[in-house]
């Protein structure tokens, strides 16, 4: 066991490949440092979302005589959106794992699935937004709708930018192959994509499911 080997040795003798960024063995591997830095970015992004969640929670009752969430939301569509994003998160994880194990073809197949599911999510969301605006329930109708469009729209913009980044990364894999630098970018991208799914869990719970109960 590697753990036992580490404990048997004094800290100074920890091999570099077991370094974890806390002294023994020197700096942690680049992969861990890069993922940590990107994790900090993701947390800051989630903190930005928390402000939008707070705004929605505070304003969701202020409909100014306009339509309420219970009248506007179609939970069947939201369920399909949720499943699209969840499956896309799964294929993203499987795809990046395939890339780390040196299987570029498998990665490309799962990247296509990931892109298709993410695009399906965005399509349903944009259709929903367009339908609401057509019904006169656009972002300028009430404070509730302003905060709704800001929160859900910001998430949608993140998903759209994630799709653009995925195309860029697939191009890198095709041109450069699975070099360590490309693999690190893929790892960061998968962290981003999983984090978007976590934010979506908050969105469908707070906005869509609790809309009729608050």
């Amino acid at each position: 066991m590697t753990i036992a080997t580490t404990l048997d040795r004094p800290l100074i003798g920890v091999p570099a490949e077991l370094a974890r960024g806390r002294g023994g063995g020197g700096p942690a591997p680049k992969r861990i440092v890069v993922a940590y830095g990107f994790w900090i970015f993701i947390l800051s992004d989630i903190i930005m979302f928390s402000a939008l969640f707070a705004a929605y929670a505070v304003l969701s009752g202020n409909t100014a005589g306009g339509p309420t969430g219970a009248e506007l939301f179609n939970l069947r569509n939201v369920f399909i959106e949720t499943m699209c994003l969840l499956l896309s998160s799964y294929t993203c994880g499987i795809g990046v794992l395939s890339a780390e194990r040196g299987r570029p073809t498998l990665f490309l197949v799962f990247a296509i699935f990931t892109f298709a599911l993410g695009a399906a999510f965005l399509f349903i969301e944009v259709t929903e937004f367009a339908g609401m605006v057509a019904k006169g329930a656009g972002p300028s109708r009430s404070a509730f709708l302003s905060s709704f469009f800001t929160l859900v729209g910001t998430h949608g913009v993140h998903v759209a930018s994630g799709l653009v980044a995925l195309v860029y990364l697939v191009a890198q894999v095709i041109v450069h192959g699975l070099r360590p630098a490309v693999l690190r970018r893929l790892l960061c991208w998968s962290l981003f994509w999983h984090a978007l799914d976590i934010v979506w869990v908050g969105v469908f719970t707070l906005v869509y499911l609790m809309g009729g109960h608050l």
């Binding site: 974890r20 960024g21 591997p29 928390s50 707070a54 962290l191 608050l214």
Partner: protein, 120 residues
């Protein structure tokens, strides 16, 4: 997991470590748990399976459970030594998120109670 032939030579710090932390199985288990939590959320919200005044609490619990599943099975935040720094950062993030959301709701609820708007 453990490879008896692994050689602990003095490699340059910062070199790549080719040891994927995840497996296809852990992703699939995570997907199954997340789907169960999602379906449970939608059922709880649309039926009276739960005592109706308890539905928001039930939904929050299910959401937190699903976020936990995502963190462990998709983002691989575990008890391993690789995760320690990430979990500390996450703990700080959760603290800030809690302060922003709970603080906003608390303050605005107070304002709404103490400064009622005139009903035109």
């Amino acid at each position: 997991m453990s490879n008896p032939e692994r050689v602990f030579d003095d490699r340059t710090p910062g070199v790549e470590e080719h040891e994927p932390t995840a497996s296809y199985l852990s992703y699939t288990v995570g997907l199954g748990l997340a789907i169960v939590a999602t379906i449970a959320s939608f059922i709880v919200a649309q039926t009276n399976l739960l005592w109706p005044p308890g539905i928001p609490v039930g939904l929050i619990v299910l959401a937190l459970a699903q976020i936990g599943v995502h963190l462990v099975f998709f983002l691989h935040l575990g008890s391993g030594s690789d995760s320690t720094n990430n979990i500390l950062a996450l703990a700080f993030g959760v603290l800030v998120v809690f302060l922003v959301i709970a603080g906003s709701i608390w303050i605005i609820a107070n304002l709404n109670t103490n400064m009622p708007m005139s009903m035109q």
